[in-house]
């Protein structure tokens, strides 16, 4: 067993900022144990959570027991998959509404609706919610997505479609792109939107497109009509579904919700049942227009 490298004063300890890929490799090489990594992360949480408030529940004893069991499995040569021994945190789907979440230095993946089953997730809007991984890198997100994606009887919206080898696609990205990776660029509303400044568009999306195109991907502009109305429909559907899901708790535990979260959830009361019905065709129409994009 190798003890984690001592970090410079003030810096996060090694392992705390490592990737899934690197710690998984170190565990298989016998240079890192899950117990040591888990202890490091728990110590980091203990030292910073009072200031950051990032964790609501810390399952320290459970995590350490699981880590010890995993280390025994490693020692016995038992393989449970690429995430074996890697500590994970679960974020509530609505836990970001009270704070900005951009520029946080991590990689997040907004998955296709239905790609990851949502049973067990505290719902925001049943027909809009999607859950996905947040990690240090695209490869880590791919490893996590492979583990959590797929059909599940506990979620009627879960898609019964095969899960691609996402991690392999990431590690062989150049070949995949030269083989015809297609990137659809939604024009119109998405680039005219006043809420996005030019730097956000040019500095983010367009530069990323250039990088992908330079690597061999085919970038194709696509027109998705009625986006403005689709956004309104999204607000109506999301507001109504969020209120429906949370109304019992909003009525009895109003102050247990964060200030911004509770008012965002309650704004669904401003919409009527007819509004919700009227929004449905826009949801279906947007989906209909995006279907061909997926196969171009």
């Amino acid at each position: 067993m190798t003890t984690l490298t001592t970090a410079p004063a003030g810096a996060a300890p090694a392992g705390a900022v490592a990737t899934v890929e690197s710690v998984a490799a170190a565990m298989r090489a016998g240079t890192l144990t899950s117990t040591a990594l888990t202890r490091t992360l728990l110590d980091r949480i203990a030292s910073s959570n009072e200031r950051l408030g990032a964790y609501f529940t810390v399952c320290a004893e459970t995590a350490m027991a699981a880590a010890a069991a995993v280390d025994e499995a490693f020692a016995a040569g038992i393989e449970h998959g690429p995430l074996q021994g890697v500590p994970l945190a679960i974020k509530d789907i609505i836990a970001t509404q009270d704070a900005p979440t951009t520029a946080n230095g991590i990689t997040g993946l907004k998955t296709t609706f239905g790609r990851v089953p949502k049973n067990g997730v505290v719902s925001l809007a049943d027909t809009l919610d999607s859950v996905g991984p947040m990690a240090r890198s695209a490869l880590d997100c791919a490893l996590l997505l492979e583990a959590i994606a797929g059909d599940h009887p506990g979620d009627p919206y879960a898609a019964d479609t095969p899960v691609p080898a996402h991690a392999l696609l990431v590690t062989t990205g150049a070949e995949a792109m030269s083989g015809g990776l297609r990137v659809a660029i939604p024009t119109g509303y998405f680039f005219d939107c006043e809420e996005l400044d030019y730097e956000a568009r040019a500095g983010g999306v367009l530069v990323a497109v250039e990088v992908l195109a330079a690597a061999g991907a085919r970038a194709t502009p696509v027109d998705v009509p009625h986006c403005e109305e689709a956004k309104s429909a999204n607000n109506v559907i999301g507001g109504a579904e969020a209120l429906a899901r949370h109304r019992p708790d909003l009525s009895t535990r109003w102050l247990d919700y964060g200030r911004n979260t509770r008012t965002n959830l309650a704004r669904g009361a401003m919409f009527s049942a007819a509004d919700y019905v009227q929004a449905q065709p826009y949801q279906r129409q947007t989906d209909w227009h995006l279907q061909p994009v997926a196969v171009r």
């Binding site: 309104s232 209120l243 109304r247 109003w254 008012t263 309650a266 704004r267 401003m270 065709p281 826009y282």
Partner: protein
């Protein structure tokens, strides 16, 4: 005439109360301020897509029907063409 629909404060308070949500006065004022924009978003859904479909004869499977309406005759049977 001021109706609940045109008075954001009254309308939003009625709707929040109907949902049994115990908001503070400050939060009620926030809902009243947001009410016109939220209603405008919802009201817009009753206009453009359906109107455009009827005007252009758009046939969209997403709706589950064709909006290509046949031209109406000048007069229905027994009806005065005027």
């Amino acid at each position: 005439v001021t109706t609940p629909d045109t008075d954001p404060d009254t309308a939003s308070r009625v709707l929040v109360a109907a949902a049994s949500i115990p908001v503070s006065d400050a939060e009620a004022a926030g809902f009243a301020a947001a009410y016109p924009a939220l209603r405008a978003q919802a009201d817009a859904l009753y206009l453009s897509l359906w109107t455009e479909a009827a005007d252009t004869g758009l046939c969209c499977p997403a709706f589950g029907f064709s909006a290509s309406f046949p031209a109406l005759p000048d007069a229905l049977p027994g009806e005065d063409a005027r």
